[in-house]
Symmetry: C2
Subunit: 254 residues, 2 copies
């Protein structure tokens, strides 16, 4: 995984609903994929509860360790939405009405409807830069290297699009794959390990699959050097053919 | 969330494939749900790469902070399966052939097929207790309060079943829910916050939904005191009715 010249990111998923099993998270895969595309690979994810001190300590640890920290969840109007105030606490700045967000939301709602709960969605760490979208009146925000987004997937995705357009990315992470039916991991493991050692800058992953069409293994090469990916996957294909099997390009169909 | 008499758990998902976006994780929701059922609620999840020092430091931090630590991924036969050796390193014990697992696997494979790669799946921290299943010849294992399971969902689930039968659980986490169409979160937020303050031992979550049948909010109460859940959800229902809407039991259909 020698994309060391690339900036790196982490993600903090904030929400009891994921930790309780109530909600199947769909944001991690989206953000992970997009981070690879913009060359800011995701290196760690934490899923934490709506607990003030946990949010503060996790944000502070992550922002010190990674170039970018994304967060999802906890920026709505209800009592369990406590991300903004705790990101402010992590940075040691006041959490206060954001003039631009406040004006925009005040104008959006009918007289009397911009109530205390909704005003919380326009209340942010001092110095926050808005992440605005066309589909939600309540924006996300960035402060320093921390980017605070909604938990609802389609709103989060719109926010990520706005945000990523302004981030200085690195070399995109490319991917090449090959798969084989009827050959267990345990048979190709030694040869695969030898190929990995010859391509230290490529991340070679081995993933067994179990399909109605048959069982097998997919090998996926990821990294920033597309030529090295091609060569390593070509070697894996030769390894497979050496065991008398057909090496099929790409990943198996779902 | 006053299930403080319950033991608590964390989960470490080990695998580049989740961090790269290649794989949609399905284990977190399963383990979170099951942990609630056995009264060992999940308090934190970390998704980390296949990097030795990250595994060691994460395992050591988590096992000191939680009663139980589950891990998924990285116990297969290939070069990227490095969980077992690094859990051993975290505990400061040798990683060596486990007599029982070794004998079982040696017997399973045809002569000559129990190769070096497969032998790695029978190599574990000294003192590991096997987690055996009917569907995989390669077992998971527990050492101390750390429970090491496969990453493939159906194998992980079988391992969790074996494992959880032997864990001393707490009071199961129960759940009650109510939902409403056509009422935005921002309208009920103040009343909801007041109800949450009256039921400090209940975890009251507010989740907007967007369906073809209409948009609305689901409110979910979770905790160990079923009577308190009933009362808090009854109060939420009254709140909804007070806004001239129908309070519908349970969560909206998917």
């Amino acid at each position: 995984m020698n994309d060391t010249r690339n900036p790196v990111a982490s993600l903090i998923v904030i929400g009891n609903e994921v930790l309780s099993g109530r909600t199947q998270d769909l944001n991690i895969k989206y953000i992970a994929t997009r981070c690879g595309e913009i060359g800011i690979p995701l290196r760690e994810v934490r899923i934490i509860p709506d607990v003030a001190e946990t949010i503060v300590s996790t944000v502070n640890e992550m922002r010190a360790r990674f170039d970018h920290v994304f967060t999802t969840g906890g920026i709505g109007p209800t009592h369990d939405d406590i991300t903004s105030e705790n990101v402010a606490a992590a940075f040691g700045v006041p959490c206060e009405p954001h003039p631009e967000a406040w004006a925009r939301m005040e104008k959006h709602y009918a007289p009397g409807e911009f109530n205390a709960a909704r005003q919380r969605m326009a209340t942010m760490p001092r110095g926050a830069k808005l992440i605005e979208t066309a589909i939600s009146i309540a924006p996300g925000f960035s402060i320093g290297n921390v980017h605070v987004m909604a938990g609802v997937p389609r709103i989060m995705q719109a926010m990520f699009n706005t945000l990523s357009a302004g981030l200085e990315g690195g070399v995109p992470i490319s991917s090449r794959a090959v798969h084989v039916f009827g050959l267990p991991e345990g048979v190709i493991a030694d040869g695969l390990g030898a190929i990995q050692r010859r391509y230290p800058d490529t991340d070679l992953g081995s993933y067994p699959f179990y399909r109605s069409a048959g069982n097998g293994v997919a090998v996926v090469a990821k990294g920033t050097d597309a030529a090295a990916l091609e060569r390593s996957i070509a070697e894996v294909s030769e390894l497979i053919v050496g065991f008398g099997r057909e090496a099929l390009g790409g990943e198996p169909n779902a």
